[in-house]
Amino acid sequence: MAEPLLDIRGLKTWFKTDDGMVRAVDGVDLHIDRGETLGVVGESGCGKTVTARSVLKLIDMPPGRFEEGKILWQGRDLIPLEQDEMNKIRAREIAIIFQEPMTSLNPVYTVGDQIAEVIELHQKLSRKQAMAGAAEMLRLVNIPNPQRRVNDYPHQFSGGMRQRVMIAMALSCQPKLLIADEPTTALDVTIQAQILELMQEMKERFGMAIMLITHAMGVVAETCQRVTVMYAGKVVEEAPVEALFGNPRHPYTQGLIRSIPRVDRAAEKKQRLEAIAGTVPSLLDPPPGCRFASRCKFAMDVCTQAMPPLKEVGPGHYVRCVL
């Protein structure tokens, strides 16, 4: 098998707080191959975003700290790199878009300026060429009238349009990997579908890989080839998307899938949505054993004694559970 584009091995990103070490990411392994879309799912606070930011080294240090692990980008470890070396990788090779399109654009510059800034910074083009590039990017992300809209300010765009602008900015240097950190969470449903479609289109055009972080299982089913399920700073299940939805092995994954709202069922049977009881445990001093044990219907004695290892249960399908 060829070397993966991004290979995270045993990554531990911890945060030092007054109460002790918060183990936000506690030994995560995941990899992304060229041109594939990997979904990273899990509920709030399970370490998805910290993992994503760790890849681009956007974690504030202190309080954050890489405790262990490697982030191999095309075989090269990013963790020991200095800031200015990281700046060469950011946008040019790995780009990220955030959840909040409303505040992710600088209100005092036109969107054209902001896209052009990225292009200028990395491609050493003149201002004029960069602005032309910015208009071209706006056209690619389906913003009508791009020649005129490059001179508009962010407040003149709607939420969905701003997310398109963010995508245009992120893709302006044709990165090999786009990390999308809950790109559609702040948008309404119809716009969500458009943005996902746009990302799909861009992926095919530029041949890049996408790491899609989300808590919407429906989005994952639609767009991803492989899925990594995270819980409390650990990967609990990893599988091709068909295997994950067809045969979810981890009780947490099963719970997540059952908690997808379904219009047909809700309307017909007035069925209540199933939720997973309880909340994510504190990551301050996680108990030994399986972190999901306290919320798991099938928890046994062994679950609280030692962390189960990831075991392979099918081709490319790994699960961290004794069942």
């Binding site: 681009l56 956007l58 800031q83 200015d84 990281m86 700046n87 060469k88 990788i89 950011r90 946008a91 040019r92 780009a95 990220i96 955030f98 909040e100 505040t103 992710s104 654009l105 600088n106 209100p107 005092v108 510059y109 800034e117 990225v118 910074l121 990395h122 963010m166 900015m169 992120a170």
Partner: protein, 275 residues
């Protein structure tokens, strides 16, 4: 109000800049036959005890007073923005130390400090830069150096909230260096309130310069500024009230106009205002 003030200020500044062309009377032409006269056609604002034309002296004095005000404001804002920006970005110990210095300056009584500094350094600075230039640099430095604290606090507070904004993080994620993040993305967003403070600082600096001149610690006494004309007039208040009235009124109107403009800017730049 701000518009009206803007017009008043523009008139004063225009008069001060173009005045010498329209009223080409020398400022130090002594004429004892015409001393302490009230307003007349020959001397629209009257004369002082040496028969010098007050209009000419006030026009010239206005140049110095306003130049000092603007220059001192620039010094205060540059120092304040630098200190505030460094404190806001660095956080931790550097921040604490800089804010400690800021508090220290805030708690110093300003006037005695001004007097002391000018008394101590006047002669040495004069030696290097000449009488007038020396006085100008010293006064600007002293006034600016004791007025940067409000700008520093303001900029620090803005930086603390702005540097956590998503667009700054987005810039960082797309490979912007630290300097670029600050200069391109944080500073322009922090400038609104700074501009307001800057306007009001000009007014305060004009007052401070007038005070210094009034106390005889500003420019040498043969150079007229609004404050020094006022000082010279104080001994003749009973027989020549016009002499004190005009410079006093000019200081009053200028400072008031600048303050109203500052208020107007604050309202105009207030994000909560509904457009």
């Amino acid at each position: 109000m701000a518009l009206f003030s803007g017009i008043a200020l523009a008139l004063i500044v225009g008069a001060v800049l173009l005045g010498p062309l329209l009223w080409p009377v020398p400022i130090n032409e002594i004429d004892f036959t015409a001393k302490l006269q009230g307003p007349s056609w020959k001397h629209p604002l009257g004369t002082d005890d040496l028969g010098q034309d007050l209009l000419a002296r006030l026009i010239y004095g206005g140049r110095i007073s306003i130049a000092v005000g603007v220059a001192a404001m620039i010094v205060a804002i540059v120092v304040g923005v630098l200190v505030g920006a460094i404190a806001g970005m660095a956080s931790g110990r550097v921040d604490a130390a800089l804010m400690w210095v800021t508090d220290l300056f805030l708690s110093l009584p300003q006037l005695p400090l001004l007097l002391l500094v000018i008394y101590l350094f006047r002669d040495s600075v004069k030696g290097v830069l000449g009488v007038e230039g020396g006085a100008f640099v010293l006064i600007v430095a002293v006034i600016g150096g004791t007025r940067w604290m409000s700008a520093a606090r303001l900029v620090r507070a803005q930086f603390l909230s702005l540097r956590e904004k998503e667009f700054v993080e987005a810039a960082r994620a797309l490979g912007a260096s630290r300097v670029r993040q600050v200069v391109q993305h944080i500073l322009p967003n922090a400038l609104g309130p700074v501009i307001v403070v800057a306007t009001i600082d000009i007014a305060a600096a004009i007052i401070a310069e007038s005070t210094l001149s009034f106390l005889g610690l500003g420019f040498p006494s043969d150079v007229p500024t609004w404050g020094s004309v006022l000082r010279d007039a104080k001994d003749y208040l009973d027989i020549a009230p016009h002499w004190a009235l005009f410079p006093g009124a000019l200081i009053f109107i200028t400072v008031l106009a600048i303050n109203f403009i500052g208020d107007g800017l604050r309202d105009a730049l207030d994000p909560r205002r509904v457009l």
